[in-house]
């Protein structure tokens, strides 16, 4: 757990969050402290311990393949910042 190579620019970019230089400095330092604290998990012997992803041990929770009503187009787009002709409008996708 080498938190020293924590690169706030890279991670903020992955998370798609623009940070000001001040925020970068402040959050970077705070996250350094937090990662330093989190490092204590290294002490823990987790040999042969199963990872836990869910708080309750359910399995095979499925729904029947039944069609249920969709919502009207108008409702789907009601909150859209920008929409035209039934589509959500975004800046041109290049890829």
């Amino acid at each position: 757990m080498a938190e020293t190579d924590f690169d706030i620019k890279y991670v903020a970019n992955l998370a798609r969050i623009a940070l000001t230089p001040d925020e970068e400095a402040k959050l970077g330092a705070q996250l350094g402290d937090i990662l330093g604290y989190i490092k204590q998990l290294e002490e823990l012997d987790v040999t042969d311990v199963e990872p836990m992803a869910h708080a309750v041990p359910l399995a095979n929770v499925l729904r029947a393949d039944e069609v249920r009503p969709s919502i009207p187009q108008e409702a789907a787009l009601a909150n859209a910042p920008k929409q035209t002709n039934g589509l959500f409008i975004v800046p041109k996708i290049v890829e």
Binding site: L14, R16, A53, H54, L58, A59, N60, V61, L62, R63, A64, D65, E66, V67, R68, P69, S70, I71, P72, Q73, A76, L77, T84, N85, G86, L87, F88, I89, V90, P91, K92, I93, E95
Partner: protein, 474 residues
Amino acid sequence: MEYETVIGLETHVQLKTKSKMFCGCVNQFGSEPNTNVCPVCLGMPGVLPVPNERAMQLTALAGYLLNCEVPGFAKFDRKNYFYPDASKDYQITQFDFPSTTTGHVDFEFGGGIERVRITRAHIEEDVGKSSHFAQHSGVDFNRAGVPLLEIVSEPDLRSADMAYEYLNALKEILIYGGISDCDMEKGMVRCDVNISVRPRGAEELGVKVEIKNMNTFSGMRRAINYEVPRQIETLERGGTLVQETRRWDDIAGITESMRTKEQAHDYRYFPEPDIMPLKPSESWLSEVRSHIVELPLARKQRFVLDYGIPAQDADVFVGNVPLGGFFEQAVSGAKNAKAIANWVINNLQARIVETGTTVDELKFEPAAIRELVGIIDAGTISNKGGQEVFSELFENGGAPEEIVEAKGLAQVSDSVELDTWCQAAIDANPGPANDVRNGKDNAINFLKGQVMKASRGKANPQVVGETLAKLLKS
């Protein structure tokens, strides 16, 4: 230096379910944009996914058809990436514990049978569809959340044509199993192609290039046929290849770089906390297994072997399963399978296509074709009479022998009547008769024609020939 091409495919296939993977919206192509959507597939705040059981059954069934293992534990994961067509900005997929693993597909290629190993086939959700305009793009989420099976092959393919045939075989298997309609026009099958080249005989794989999102098989073949020489030429020029993702430009007929390994996504997979793991029970799996169907290649081999029909005929029955089923019922207990196959393919199939009906809707039983071939072979009716019987069967149903009777189609093989007609023909045509006597065997056909005419087609042509020969030699 000689190079070897190494190709692996990741094929995405939309599953044939009524509703989407995680919500009740209809799984349907071609609707008005953003009408088959709900808060769940739009990724609204607070919504939760609940997996579609049918999709899980189809996934397991596909696994069995691809000779995969279906493990006792599988789970869903989130694949994180921001993209306008991903409504949650992560895709629910299966990462380290997929629903099926390690199988293979056998298919015909280059005159033999090839085997491509399948790494895994896992379930995930489709994304929305973007359209691009001059200044901006627009997103329709109707497709978002449609269940998608991703079938990952090992790098066992060696050429564009082989990849093409593999895809066709895969498609046929999935259609057979009712897994997917594989309608290319509706974008139900898309694939990513991993291509590398290496000096022939080398163990190590070359630098891998991925071509994303091919939506036609022929486009994929062209893309490989462009990409392989590009890679070889680069190497031969002394250049180096970089691991990258490329895009196929179908109009220009070239591939272009999209991003290199360094710019690759960091997907940050982790277990989907909103969905519980899958532990398929034996009874659930055995229900799935009860839907296993015979695979196309096995069917073809069986038809050729068991019925002794030509491979091309077997191909027809592989391509058209109901017709093949009809044939199998017709041929049961029959002597002349080839003739039955001919009738089913040449006559029945043609009429079905022509009239737009289906095998299920036919007015007669498969046994009628067996009977029909039987009476033709017995000489009771001519081939031409057979056509008439068949037309009647197709249009109104009934039993062939009764139709023959009702229409007076039976051939005359009775020697007294035939003798009379034949003698009359000989007497009326002394020239051709003498020609036959003088060894010009072909002249007998003229006499035969006269007899058939006189009998209004009812004389059995084989018996006519024999009778004429007998009378002329005596």
